[in-house]
Symmetry: C2
Subunit: 258 residues, 2 copies
DNA sequence: CGGCAGATTGAGACTAATCAAGAGGAGTGG
DNA sequence: CCACTCCTCTTGATTAGTCTCAATCTGCCG
């Protein structure tokens, strides 16, 4: 699809970088002259306010973009929630690439608009919901990787503190909310970072989760930017960030709990 | 700047529409095959949740965009907060226009990214701030049109209920917050929709307003989309939405209060 | 002047933050 | 292999902040 010239000029400038959990990818206030496509792993967009507090605004998964091309300073930082990989390209390469192949503007815009929408969704999920509902809602919004025996299983890649921040509550409140969901037998906690959805319908009620979002058709995370050179692991973020030994332990648990 | 052909095909399809306060511009869930540039007045982006509650997410002023071009359904509605004007163009015209003149992609992206950033800012202003601080912060974020005697004066175009929704609180709490700001002599209320900033510094402290935002340089609302055919009233949203009789009454008030 | 809708003010209920303390888990060094 | 430390997670009691409900007030229109 790409012209030879554009492709050559472009792919030379492309850099894949591995990152590790906790690492800072982009520092707040920096001018980052490059843009990155997340290939695997999970990033988090955080903001440090003047009083030193850290706020997690959004998570960025495979196929989504970080950085900006307009030479503006970053109003937020980007940190790694898990290990993973980003594919970077410098601003000039990016811009000249887009200029040479305007048809890719459409894809770029689409992903940008999608992340914009996701930011709006993030606000909406906060509104008119108490802490319990927000937690339930978030759980339902995660890609439910099926565990052993087709039970929906969710890996919480974020720390309690980070997830609490994302959901705009304290870690203590998040903890209480999770255990309230357990008491009402909507979920179980095989491990502190694993959530097993026991009763999907009850969880929906508790989270005031709209019917039309159930299929995930409204705001699918899976319209990844069609990066020409990188295969994006979009479908299985679960396995991508799940260490093998955990999977093993998990299946043991599943067998034991039956 | 525009090629004759593109210009001709484009300007024919452009439609200016006046809107009145309270009017619904875009219905939630609609597929709107067009995009609009706000010329004057103020729009609000609202979401109706399943339980019937209405949430104001954002306001859209002159130079900013509404609608989308990707044929997707709207996750939110757009309503008029004041009287004003939008300049519409159908999706096909828009897309072919951008295709013909790729250099405008940059501007389009820029405005989109800006609104994206604004959405993020909207989240941040909520975080780690109580109701009083949110109100103070919002006031400082408004374009302070100077009133009589160079006193910063702000017109609240939104109803109490809408503004409260935007700031994620109840109308009652908003009201109390405003009056608390008055008690601490940071502001005055010449009329229920007019705020006079008496002590800017105190208001900043009460709103935890960062220093670097004071100049408004960080996130200026004034990088309007350079619409080729419409003159955008970007600088004076105040006067644009201020009925003449109010202005007159206001100056009388200013004279009387000295 | 009466009616109406939005804005204001007040009192009580309830949610979530804060402060404090205990439990679990991973890594380190002897 | 075990004790020790550090850090995160969890749990409990208290407090502060907002929401809710209700009543009153205000400006506006016919």
């Amino acid at each position: 699809m790409l012209g030879d010239q554009a492709l050559a000029a472009f792919s030379v400038r492309t850099t894949r970088t591995h990152f590790h959990g906790g690492e800072t990818i982009i520092t707040q206030g920096d001018e980052v002259g490059r843009i990155g496509v997340v290939v695997s792993g999970l990033l988090k967009i955080v903001v440090f306010t003047e009083d030193g507090a850290e706020h997690v605004l959004q998570t960025v998964g495979p196929g989504q973009l970080v950085g900006n091309t307009d030479g503006q300073r970053h109003g937020h930082a980007v940190e790694a929630a898990t290990d993973g990989m980003v594919c970077w390209m410098p601003r000039e390469a990016w811009n000249s690439f887009l200029k040479a192949r305007p048809e890719h503007y459409q894809a770029f815009l689409s992903v940008t608009l999608q992340q914009y929408q996701e930011a709006q969704q993030g606000v909406i999920r906060m509104r008119g919901r108490n802490t319990l509902q927000r937690v339930a809602f978030w759980l339902l919004d995660q890609k439910p990787a099926r565990g052993t025996g087709n039970v929906p299983l969710i890996r919480i890649a974020l720390s309690r503190r980070d997830l609490a921040s994302l959901l705009d509550m304290t870690a203590e409140t998040l903890c209480r909310a999770l255990h309230q969901l357990i008491e009402r037998s909507a979920i179980r906690l095989p491990a502190s970072d694993l959530v097993e959805i026991v009763d999907m319908e009850r969880l929906r009620q508790l989270g005031k989760y709209p019917r039309d979002r159930i299929a995930g058709a409204e705001n699918p995370r899976a319209t990844p930017f069609p990066h020409p050179f990188v295969q994006v692991a979009s479908s299985d973020r679960f396995e991508a960030t799940m260490p093998p030994e955990r999977l093993k332990r998990l299946s043991e648990f599943g067998a034991a709990s039956r």
